[in-house]
Homo-oligomer: 424 residues x 4
Amino acid sequence: MNNLAMSESARPLLDKVIKHIRENCDPALAEYERLGEGRAERFSYAPGQLEILEDLKNKARAAGLWNFFLPNAETGEGLSNLDYAYIAFELGKNPLAAQSLNCAAPDTGNMEVLERVGTPEQKETWLKPLLRGEIRSAFAMTEPDVASSDARNIGTRAILENGEWVINGEKYYISGAGDPRCKIMIVMVKTSPDAEPFRQQSQILVPIDTPGVEIVGPMEVFGHDHAPHGHMQIRFTDVRVPEENILWGEGRGFEISQLRLGPGRIHHCMRSIGAAEKALDLMIHRGLTREAFGKKIIDLGKNMETISRSRIEIDAMRMIVLKAAKAMDVLGNKEARIWVSKAKAMVPEKCCKIIDDAMQVHGATGMSQWSELPEMYIKQRTLRFADGPDEVHHNVIARAERRDFETSNDRQAVVRAALGRDRR
Amino acid sequence: MNNLAMSESARPLLDKVIKHIRENCDPALAEYERLGEGRAERFSYAPGQLEILEDLKNKARAAGLWNFFLPNAETGEGLSNLDYAYIAFELGKNPLAAQSLNCAAPDTGNMEVLERVGTPEQKETWLKPLLRGEIRSAFAMTEPDVASSDARNIGTRAILENGEWVINGEKYYISGAGDPRCKIMIVMVKTSPDAEPFRQQSQILVPIDTPGVEIVGPMEVFGHDHAPHGHMQIRFTDVRVPEENILWGEGRGFEISQLRLGPGRIHHCMRSIGAAEKALDLMIHRGLTREAFGKKIIDLGKNMETISRSRIEIDAMRMIVLKAAKAMDVLGNKEARIWVSKAKAMVPEKCCKIIDDAMQVHGATGMSQWSELPEMYIKQRTLRFADGPDEVHHNVIARAERRDFETSNDRQAVVRAALGRDRR
Amino acid sequence: MNNLAMSESARPLLDKVIKHIRENCDPALAEYERLGEGRAERFSYAPGQLEILEDLKNKARAAGLWNFFLPNAETGEGLSNLDYAYIAFELGKNPLAAQSLNCAAPDTGNMEVLERVGTPEQKETWLKPLLRGEIRSAFAMTEPDVASSDARNIGTRAILENGEWVINGEKYYISGAGDPRCKIMIVMVKTSPDAEPFRQQSQILVPIDTPGVEIVGPMEVFGHDHAPHGHMQIRFTDVRVPEENILWGEGRGFEISQLRLGPGRIHHCMRSIGAAEKALDLMIHRGLTREAFGKKIIDLGKNMETISRSRIEIDAMRMIVLKAAKAMDVLGNKEARIWVSKAKAMVPEKCCKIIDDAMQVHGATGMSQWSELPEMYIKQRTLRFADGPDEVHHNVIARAERRDFETSNDRQAVVRAALGRDRR
Amino acid sequence: MNNLAMSESARPLLDKVIKHIRENCDPALAEYERLGEGRAERFSYAPGQLEILEDLKNKARAAGLWNFFLPNAETGEGLSNLDYAYIAFELGKNPLAAQSLNCAAPDTGNMEVLERVGTPEQKETWLKPLLRGEIRSAFAMTEPDVASSDARNIGTRAILENGEWVINGEKYYISGAGDPRCKIMIVMVKTSPDAEPFRQQSQILVPIDTPGVEIVGPMEVFGHDHAPHGHMQIRFTDVRVPEENILWGEGRGFEISQLRLGPGRIHHCMRSIGAAEKALDLMIHRGLTREAFGKKIIDLGKNMETISRSRIEIDAMRMIVLKAAKAMDVLGNKEARIWVSKAKAMVPEKCCKIIDDAMQVHGATGMSQWSELPEMYIKQRTLRFADGPDEVHHNVIARAERRDFETSNDRQAVVRAALGRDRR
């Protein structure tokens, strides 16, 4: 569990990924962003944008850098979660990088679910084009009217009628559903309200163009619509899909969520490490290139200590994320979930702090469109809710810790020894 | 200094202001915002918007609620800074309220400067229409190419040629300069590069339509352009204004800044208290109206303690702001500046924390366009740079503290007594 | 409520108190401490120590500086809580000062209780010698076997038999009970186990030499026994006192606690402000008098910002404490308890931080016997438990805040306006 | 560098160490402490105490658990730093454990120095009895009159006269010098005031019974003298030792310090992890065994989240410490020093927080002599100064980070890409 070194075989891949980002993605970014600026038609691509993306994807695929995220897959392309983590760290440094390797959210989680529990037909129809990077996908779970952090609150209903699931309800913050390339959604629904609490939910495949699916509009984060990706509000009104669109069987929705917990949650955290590294680099760079009161800004007040504290926290986060990846490799997703929760509860919160500190060193420019820092901050702030708010993960960890204490002879022996002093 | 109670005479005004906000501003807000949504032509008002604003201004003026911010003014309308603080707390709860009373930034600071150091002609031409709420104004100080927190870095040059100031340079984050009603700017320039460091700067009145003034575009904050108000990037190329447009005389730019320090900085902090109160109310409301894991969210985990800590910090901030206001009343703006720096260094940082905590209680909705919290957060985050970053204010405070210690017999006596123990 | 200025009449008293501390207490401290060092017989005074204390008391009494803590008392000596706060700030700077003015804990709380609810006989026997500073007292509430933060957990039993209360149980952390001058305890007991939860407790006067009272030994704080004052562990075995020793009547123990909440809790916080000021002065002094890496330590890294942050927090705490004092003056102890809880939850925690920062600036000497900082830290750390742990006070505050929100039309109107945006 | 797993060969040793602590050290602790209580003759052992220690040492040695700390030593007993770290974690859970394995500070650092730079005679005379656990030692560096965090400030002088070093000066906080078994000190002195700044210092072996060595008394930490170990104040007056007592040669004192940086600093941090684990266990245990307001304390307020946060931080610290140990194994002590500084700057500060949180859950008992928590807190608080205050380590880290940025093409490329957006 504590051997967190990258495998020898993956090392050259990492080098190639870094080379790909530096040589292909970095130069393409400014142009890609410039093309997308100020578009009135929000959820579409400007002429030229998709070409840039396809070009990057072609280059990556040609270099053998494709679908790394899928561990131990029969496709043969996957790396271990641990090896992938090292690569994902780098992907976090350029907003186009993950997609260029077909390793972008939420497709990765969806592909993994399909690969594990999909029927041959489901794989043929949806997994294959996803693996080829031809279409994109969404995962529809969160609802506006209830606290979705408690899965039992899910209210969207699916009722089986004449061999079809009829779905009614409303979802929001459905990331990626704004992309014109998004063709398929996995929708969390309540199918079995009379079953025990965690057997009431199912997950169903719903093509996005199914009648009754209404994309109401984008949900914003801090005023951003993140077009064309988008976090969409979606209404389901008598949406009908074939019975066989259910994944893994009725009542297994919560089980699938557990299964996807690992990768879906941890890939974000992996890339967050790269974002934090970048924020630190921006902080140092700004501190070295501006002067005030006769000194470089980096040499003023607490700035050097802030750099040190950021460095330490980044290193600590990196190790926790590697450990969570290793746990998934060694223990499986379910047993690894405590480690995943540790990463998830730790990383976005600390990244917000580091990026915020970097902003402060930048002065007003740090909040402006001339800097990536605001987008990076918003991304990390968002992650403190996505895939479960911090509080839910802390609860998972604390309950596991409590249970571990209650069942560990050694831990209780330590306490007994410490309490050995007689009270008078 | 410690009598922070509102004066009896101001109390009815406060009641009228609250009534005005509840009855006039609150109902108008949703419609005002709806009209402004999604406009392509950013720096203009939608049909109907200005009418709403003028209607609110007329109602306020008719009720005698006008220009409160101007203390001890010959106009006779001003309140003491202390009394105004109580009113400004309330203004912070509705984004339209301050403007409806002609108490909005940056006009308030500009009007105060004109009232104190303006010539009769300058007052006639610019102060009067500002006091009547007919035009708006901007203050152009910050520059993109230098750390403007150190005023000596200011690089925009003004050279006197043939009875005209010729101005060249670039400013950014000039708030309010996007508003079509903005007619006049006070521009901080370097006029006297050979004078001693704090006598090199001057402030000059520049009508915004002067040839050579180029509004390059809006600077964003976290991706917002805050249209139509705007934080503009402005280029000055051979901009010529008459010699008499200088304020108070050549080389007094830094002095004017000191003078405006108080009100300009503290009015924001006053309104921030209202914003923090509102964030706390939103936090409680959300906590009471959502359930998860079988409980109201307010009763989960640390939420009650978060509410308590927010309450305590708001009360503490409120007292510090009142104290700074009182200091300005009693000691004058210059002597009060340590208290102003205390408020400025304390309030926006703590407000960010409170608003962020409120977001976390809201879940994803707390980041969305359905909530005011993201805008409130961005506003407070911005204030950690505006009018001097936190670090500059902490430095002002620490240097004053150090000086006070070095010159206080009593403080040194306390230390001597504490060090009285003999070393062996 | 917001006039927090000292009354004109009290100002000369404050000046006299400061003079008394500087001229009498400060010079006496080193000798007093030296005499007490390394005594084997812990809970007694060394020859000369009591003489120093009595001399200070005589000087204070002669100067009219006596029993200030007792507000609006028939004795005529008391100040308002607000005026007293200003004096108590100064008392916090010298460990002998409070006692020299007969204003030391826990006597102040006990005297106030006796003055308010004592019978004429109880006053004659116990209050008078306490007011004259002839004896000292203790308040026995906390128990080792239960979470005493919940008063309902109190387990010490008192049963009425033949006109006598028979007391059995165990208390700990009974501060001051180690002092040989301590003659009387107020003991919180359970008298009425069948009454409703908050009517089961009573408070009874128990002379410390009553048979059956066993002082088991001192409880330590961070290894200190604080002799001769002491925080004693006390066992009550068939302790019998006359029926009339009960205070205010059976079942009113919780009520008395509420009544004493204010002064007992807030006096500590007042003195904590003085302690924090002293810590800041020590921090600045050390920073100015040591050098490393070619600079004064005060000019290294974040030290100046630490000074500024300490200054701001001290000012904020001071205002909250003044406000709590004023609330007791204006609203009475019961209604003021939210403000008292705010002070109590805020002050010791923040003081710990300030003192800890001061230590860090001192290097190893800051932890040593050459510095008062460790004792000051321990004192403040202890206060985070005494009279209710932080958590209990935060809960009081949050529940009040929640109730206030639920019953305030204006607060709810603010929320309604903020939520005015239509969801799609 | 990222393979942090324990070696297979060391695993059985770890199991034996745990068994030894549980079966031998844990049962002995209470008796050992009881014997030492309340002794007037502070710096000596009570009858029976040394017998307990010797018995534990004999048992450990018999089980082959001895001198693990010395990596790659010719003695053949040493483990890698990484393997030793796992063992040291466990040693941190019982105050007798490290000494029982002859792995206690400051002997470990001193033995490592002697082993690396000692002459054959020095090894024979001092290293061998130390390795056999027959004597103990001290390291005298810190001085009361200067900021010793800057090694150039060292003022104790050694002058060579007639083949003898004559030493004059004063040291304090010389840990272990109070132990009657302490026979030898390594003393940092200034020998060459005219050399360049970091070649002025030397380290000299001084037997503690050399004439002129005056042990003035113990320095306390938070009022504890930590007898009989002690942190002594020592005066050197014309202390004469033979010329050959110098270590490694004149002017190499700073170099030796660098060399000992690693082990000396990191062993403490390793044991701190064990202490933090123990604090967490005590926190959970208390939370499970007390009730208030109708619930187990662990289920009140933020306590579960505190447990989770403690768990995460402990795991993060553990990984950083393992990484620092591995860096010493792989890179050598000198190159590993950035990692050592990371551990040193991170661990004690975070441990203080965890222990403090554990105290708060305990209520008053958490500060008392019935709990180990206060001693654990003081120990960790002390470590924030020992072997360099936090600030010095943050500075080491930040300077390395800055240098790394300035010399890394890849890091600068990331910044260039992020700054690719054109300014208008």
